[in-house]
Symmetry: C2
Subunit: 328 residues, 2 copies
DNA sequence: TTCACTTTTGCATACGTATTCAAAATATGA
DNA sequence: TCATATTTTGAATACGTATGCAAAAGTGAA
């Protein structure tokens, strides 16, 4: 089998010109039904597939989306990854996966994205300096911050409505009769953690209630250690709002270890609704992030920007839902 | 900023030919130190980066590795994904992520990999028909099955030594005084589940011991349901060997729900050593798969095949380690 | 200096596709 | 039927790079 069958080969066999072959494979080009059939038959016979690199070279466009991710320890993100790949596949786009250890995407990875001239970029977990974000803009590469906002917010971002979620959670806990609450935060420089807290504190303030804030880091270990500290300091509240599920699981395990009854002594509510939250061992009440919708919004924007770049910025917020289980 | 600065632009500014610019960026080409400096200075000034697509078009090679994955619900695999991206990055390769829902990779995804003329392919979770695997061979694209073996084993595979692991686990449980054991399998057509069982049963047979096999599916829910069935049928053994950790966690939760004491009444041992196995709520004894080594072996093979294709097949088995915790 | 030899450079070309433009084919209308 | 409008086609070219080949530049010995 010859490894490189090109449009010219197909053209010869089909008895048409290379241009016609090209047109058959180019979305929206005009070809008569007759030549289309001839070309497809010849292509089938030869096992022809258009060379993506030649295409990209001449169109200066690609069908590759760069997806930047950091925290794969949190099961929420792998799920995001697969949903994105599935969603993009529908439109013929493939995903170039970029993993960063640091919070901020490394220059090397930025170069990769630029070298491959990706059609668009999704940043999930990680952050990106303003400089770098601007350089994508200069190249007219659309960019979406997924579940994060850049402080200078003239970039597009898609989030769950964290403010409303925080409010609803506070109201729910109040309704359940909790008065002495605590918030266990994620990494403190993330917009998600800050906004969840903001909504939460707003509502408590309306009821003239104080709450204690404990800084943590969005990891299981962090949640576990933080809860242990709180218990040992004798500062147990009547309810914990934990900034994400994986931390909340750590909190639950710490409570269990210390023999604190959930939800009788302490209520716990998480955020994300990862699969593990529904496990019989946990049955965690939580706030569901509507991943499908968020992904859909992201893809919609990227597709429209790829069709015609505007660089428009917006902060899209999708509403989530409270999932009541056994920890409240 | 002009979006497309090419080698000719750099050449003009540096006062050399386009070929010289090309040679500066081509690994192993000969350029004098003087022109190299001139070119790099000019490139820096213009913000030049070589166009990957033009490169790939002419060299007929790429720096893209296709990574095919199915089960992201099992935390083992996201970890594998990040380790691969990190390892490949060192050598300048990027990862094209392909997610498949079915066990077998879909034709559409195969086409994607071929269209992008990937330099190599890693199949982790999924399987691939012999036909498809052969077509990669026909294109001289090296292929590694990671943690899986194809039945017709003339393709390269890298696994943990599952046979030895199964043996060691049986011996360990025997030493702990268990006699009446049960194996909870993963998907039954996977080489991993079969080989783990084979080693396990070998050793038990040597001691003239029977064991009960329960078919399950490598998911938490599967482990949970299977264990519940066993308990309700009154068939509780003195020890469970569970084919992976995520299932073992389900088993532990089922046992806890039914008030079965672990390890007093039943011992449980898993496989993989995912992060959650070490959580205080579980403390699962398990078998550690040496991911780093497995990844390293895979990358080593792919790099050598990319340097010069041989299509050689081998079944590499890396030894794992028993991690003793509180469930045995 | 001259000559032989090695290294470096530039020219020209090729990779496989999309796209412009003019020519050819086809459809339309009277 | 012919003349005109419309659609389809093919030839030629461009995209940005790598590379074979020959010319140029550099090196070293005598």
């Amino acid at each position: 089998m010859k490894s490189t069958i090109n449009a010219k080969d197909v053209a010869k066999l089909a008895g048409v010109s290379q241009s016609s072959v090209s047109r058959v494979y180019f979305e929206g080009a005009k070809v008569s039904e007759k030549t289309r059939r001839k070309v497809l038959a010849a292509a089938e016979e030869l096992g022809y597939r258009p060379n993506e690199f030649a295409r990209s070279l001449i169109t200066n466009r690609t069908k590759i989306i760069g997806l930047v991710m950091k925290g794969v320890q949190n099961p929420f993100y792998p799920q995001v990854l697969t949903q994105f790949t599935a969603a993009f596949k529908k439109y013929g786009y493939s995903v170039l996966f970029v993993h960063t250890n640091n919070d901020e995407i490394e220059t090397e990875d930025v170069e990769t994205l630029l070298n491959y001239n990706v059609a668009g970029v999704v940043i999930t977990d990680a952050t990106m300096s303003l400089n770098v974000a601007e350089s994508f803009r200069a190249h007219h590469i659309p960019l979406v911050f997924f579940n994060r906002k850049l402080s200078s917010s003239d970039f597009y971002s898609v989030c769950c409505n964290n403010l409303n979620a925080g409010r609803a959670i506070a109201e729910y806990l109040l309704m359940q009769g909790s008065a002495n609450m605590a918030y266990i935060s994620g990494n403190e420089n993330t917009s998600t953690s800050l906004e969840r807290e903001k909504g939460f504190s707003e509502v408590l303030a309306l009821h003239n209630l104080e709450y204690k804030k404990h800084a943590s880091d969005y990891t299981y270990g962090g949640g576990y250690a933080t809860a242990l500290d709180i218990i040992e300091a004798g500062e147990l509240p009547s309810a914990f709002f934990v900034a994400n599920d994986i931390m909340a699981l750590g909190v639950l395990d710490a409570l269990q270890k210390k023999g604190v009854a959930v939800p009788e002594q302490v209520k716990v509510i998480g955020f994300d609704n990862i699969e593990m939250a529904s496990w019989p061992g946990y049955e965690l009440t939580t706030w569901e992030q509507p991943i499908e919708k968020m992904v859909k919004e992201t893809v919609k924007y990227l597709l429209s920007e790829m069709a015609g770049y505007t660089g428009s910025a917006q902060s899209v917020e999708v509403e989530g839902t409270l999932i009541k289980r056994k920890t409240t």
